[in-house]
C-alpha cells in the first residue's frame, strides 16, 4: 500500500489561544511493501502523523494519499470504514485497550465490526493467534488474567485479524524486557515478510530501526529532518546530534575506532562478528593494503 504525504500541515485547536502546529509542510512517500521507521523525539509530530494514516485526523492543509484513498482538509470522510479495514494501527501499550470477556471475543471484535462473517472470523482468530505465537488454549481465558507480554500479543492479534495491508506500530516494544523486545520485533519482521505488509514503525530505538527497517524518516518539530536508507541516515552523526538524537551504538563505536586507529573502517551493515574480524586485522597491524 503506497502512502504519500503532500505538503501536509496539521494544527490542533486552530484560531484559539491553544493553537499548536504539530506537523508543518511535511512531504514524504512510503512505498508499498517497505518497512519504514519513523524516528523523532516526544513532540516531533509522530503521533499526529500516525493518526492521519487511517483518517483519525484530517490534514489542516495539504493531502494524504493512502492507496486509492485521499484525505483532504475539506470534504467528508467517504469510505473511511474501508480505509480503516486496510490500515491496522498498534498504538502504544495496546494491552490497555483490551476489554472483552475472553481472548477470542477480543480478537474477533474488529473483524465482526467490519462485517466479516462468523465462520471467517473464527478462522482469522486462529490464524492471528498463531501469528503472534500464542497457544489456542488461551482463547477461552479472560485477557486480563494473562501476563503483560501475552496481553500485548492478544491486542496485536486483534489488529491482525482485520487483515490490514498497512501495519502501523507505535513503540511496540515499550516496557518489555530485552528478550521480549527482540521476540516482538522478530515477530513483526516475520509478519511483514510473510503477509507482504507495508510496515511503519514509530520508535525511539535507533537499534531497532537499524536492524529491521529499510527506510528511515527522522522528524523534528513537525518537519521532515532526514530521510534515507538506515545505513546512510545513521552515519550522519553531526546532523543527528543537532536534534539530540544518538546514532546506534555500533556506529558510534566504529566512528571512535576509526579516529583512534586512523583506519579504513566504516559501517556497512556488518554483524558484530564481522566487525570483530575487521578490528582484529587493524589492531594486529596487518593492513589489507600491505
Amino acid at each position: 500500500m503506497e502512502i504519500s504525504f503532500k505538503q501536509v500541515s496539521y494544527t490542533y485547536q486552530p484560531n484559539t489561544p491553544f493553537e499548536h502546529r504539530a506537523i508543518n509542510d511535511l512531504s514524504m512517500d512510503v512505498s508499498s511493501g517497505s518497512f519504514t521507521a519513523i524516528i523523532g523525539h516526544t513532540g516531533s509530530g509522530k503521533s499526529t502523523l500516525i493518526q492521519h494514516l487511517n483518517g483519525l485526523l484530517k490534514p489542516s492543509s495539504g493531502e494524504v494519499v493512502i492507496g486509492s484513498y485521499r484525505l483532504q482538509p475539506e470534504g467528508k470522510l467517504k469510505g473511511i470504514k474501508e480505509l480503516r479495514s486496510k490500515v491496522g494501527i498498534v498504538f502504544q501499550y495496546p494491552e490497555h485497550q483490551l476489554f472483552e470477556e475472553t481472548v477470542f471475543k477480543d480478537i474477533a471484535f474488529g473483524p465482526l465490526n467490519f462485517g466479516v462473517d462468523r465462520q471467517e472470523v473464527e478462522k482469522r482468530v486462529g490464524e492471528a493467534m498463531s501469528a503472534v505465537q500464542l497457544p489456542e488454549e488461551l482463547l477461552v481465558r479472560s485477557p486480563f488474567e494473562l501476563s503483560g507480554g501475552q496481553m500485548r500479543r492478544v491486542a496485536i492479534a486483534g489488529v491482525l485479524a482485520v487483515q490490514p495491508e498497512l501495519l502501523v506500530l507505535d513503540e511496540p516494544t515499550a516496557g518489555l524486557d530485552p528478550k521480549g523486545q527482540k521476540e516482538m520485533m522478530d515477530m513483526f519482521h516475520r509478519l511483514h515478510k510473510q503477509k507482504s505488509l507495508t510496515t511503519i514503525l514509530v520508535t525511539h530505538s535507533m537499534e531497532d530501526a537499524l536492524a529491521y527497517a529499510d527506510h528511515v524518516i527522522i522528524l523534528n518539530k513537525g518537519e521532515k529532518y532526514l530521510e534515507g536508507k538506515p545505513e546512510d541516515v545513521f552515519t550522519r552523526q553531526a546532523d543527528l546530534r543537532k536534534v539530540q538524537l544518538d546514532v546506534p551504538e555500533v556506529i558510534q563505536f566504529i566512528t571512535k575506532a576509526k579516529e583512534r586507529f586512523q583506519a579504513d573502517l566504516s559501517y556497512h551493515g556488518q554483524t558484530i562478528q564481522e566487525l570483530a574480524e575487521e578490528l582484529a586485522l587493524i589492531v594486529k597491524g596487518a593492513s589489507r593494503y600491505e
Binding site: 516526544t42 515499550a174 524486557d177 528478550k179 538524537l245 558484530i272 578490528l279
Partner: protein, 279 residues
C-alpha cells in the same frame, strides 16, 4: 563501604498459598552508599524484591532488615522513612497539582517544620536539576522530567535507600540519560544506597554490584565486569550482555587478548590500543 543498610535473610515469598514461590531462599546485603543493580527477565522476582524492601509486601518466611530493624507491621512506618521508591510509570505517582506541592507531599506527611521544608524542597529540586519548575504542573512535564520530580520527592525525605523500579523503562533515550545522570549525581552527593531494577544493560555497567535473579533465586552476585564475563550463561537465562562486552568477547575469540573486561567504548578502545602497541 562498611556496614550493611539492607539485608535479606533466607526470604521466601508467594502471592497466594496455592501459588508457586516467587522468591526462594533469597539472601543478600547492600552496604551504605552502594549502588546495586538488580537484573533478570520478566517474572524472575525483581519487582517483588523491590516491594518487599519497603513493606508493600511481607515475606512468608525469612527476614528483611533495614539498618538492623526487621520490616513488619509495627516497624513499617519507620522503615518507609528510610526507603524511598520510584516506580516505572511516570504518570502514576503524582499527588500534587504543582511540582512544589508534589515534592512537599512527603514532607508534610511527616510533619516537617516549614523552614526545614523550604530548604529541603530547594535542595532536592536542585539535585535533580529541576529548579525553576516549582510552579509547573507535573502532568505537563516530559517523561524524564516527571521521573526527576518523583526522585526529588523521594530525596526530600532523605531516605537511606532509594529504589528505582524500572524507572527508566517508559522513557525515551533522552529521558533515560537524564535519569542516569541524576542518579549518578545523587549518589555522589548523598550518603545514600541505591537499588536500580532495570533491563537497561548500559545502566547496569554503572552500578557497583549486580544481583542477577532467575526463577526466584539469586543466580549470581558480582561486579558488572564479572557478571558480563558470563555471556553464555546469561544468554541461557534469557539475558543479554552490552554491545561492548559482546564485541570484546568476539575479539578475544580472534586472539586479540584484552587485559581487563572493558565495559564502555573508551575502555575497549584503550585495551585495543594497548594490544596494538604491544604487537
Amino acid at each position: 563501604m562498611g556496614k550493611n543498610v539492607l539485608k535479606f535473610e533466607h526470604v521466601w515469598f508467594r502471592y497466594g498459598e496455592d501459588l508457586p514461590w516467587v522468591l526462594q531462599d533469597v539472601s543478600f546485603e547492600i552496604s551504605r552508599s552502594e549502588w546495586v543493580a538488580v537484573i533478570g527477565h520478566n517474572g524472575s522476582g525483581k519487582s517483588t524484591i523491590a516491594k518487599l524492601m519497603n513493606g508493600l509486601l511481607f515475606p512468608q518466611k525469612g527476614k528483611i532488615l533495614i539498618n538492623g530493624l526487621e520490616i513488619n507491621e509495627e516497624t513499617i512506618w519507620d522503615i518507609r522513612k528510610q526507603v524511598g521508591m520510584v516506580f516505572q510509570n511516570p504518570d502514576n505517582q503524582f499527588v500534587g497539582t504543582t511540582v512544589r506541592d508534589d515534592v512537599a507531599f512527603g514532607l508534610e506527611n511527616r510533619g516537617i517544620p516549614r523552614e526545614e521544608m523550604i530548604k529541603r524542597l530547594k535542595d532536592s529540586l536542585a539535585a535533580v536539576r529541576m529548579e525553576g519548575y516549582e510552579l509547573h504542573e507535573p502532568h505537563r512535564l516530559s517523561g524524564g522530567q516527571k521521573q526527576r520530580v518523583a526522585i526529588a520527592g523521594v530525596l526530600a525525605v532523605s531516605p537511606q535507600i532509594i529504589i528505582l523500579d524500572e524507572a527508566t523503562a517508559m522513557l525515551d533515550p533522552n529521558g533515560r540519560k537524564e535519569i542516569i545522570e541524576t542518579v549518578k549525581t545523587v549518589k555522589e552527593q548523598d550518603d545514600v544506597s541505591l537499588v536500580t531494577i532495570t533491563h537497561d544493560l548500559n545502566e547496569v555497567t554503572l552500578a557497583d554490584r549486580v544481583l542477577v535473579m532467575n526463577e526466584g533465586k539469586v543466580w549470581m552476585e558480582a561486579s558488572p565486569k564479572d557478571i558480563f564475563a558470563k555471556r553464555d550463561e546469561l544468554k541461557e537465562i534469557g539475558l543479554d550482555i552490552p554491545f561492548v562486552t559482546k564485541l570484546a568477547a568476539e575479539l578475544t575469540d580472534r586472539d586479540v587478548i584484552l587485559d581487563s573486561e572493558p565495559l564502555n567504548h573508551d575502555e575497549l578502545l584503550e585495551e585495543l590500543w594497548r594490544f596494538h602497541l604491544n604487537r
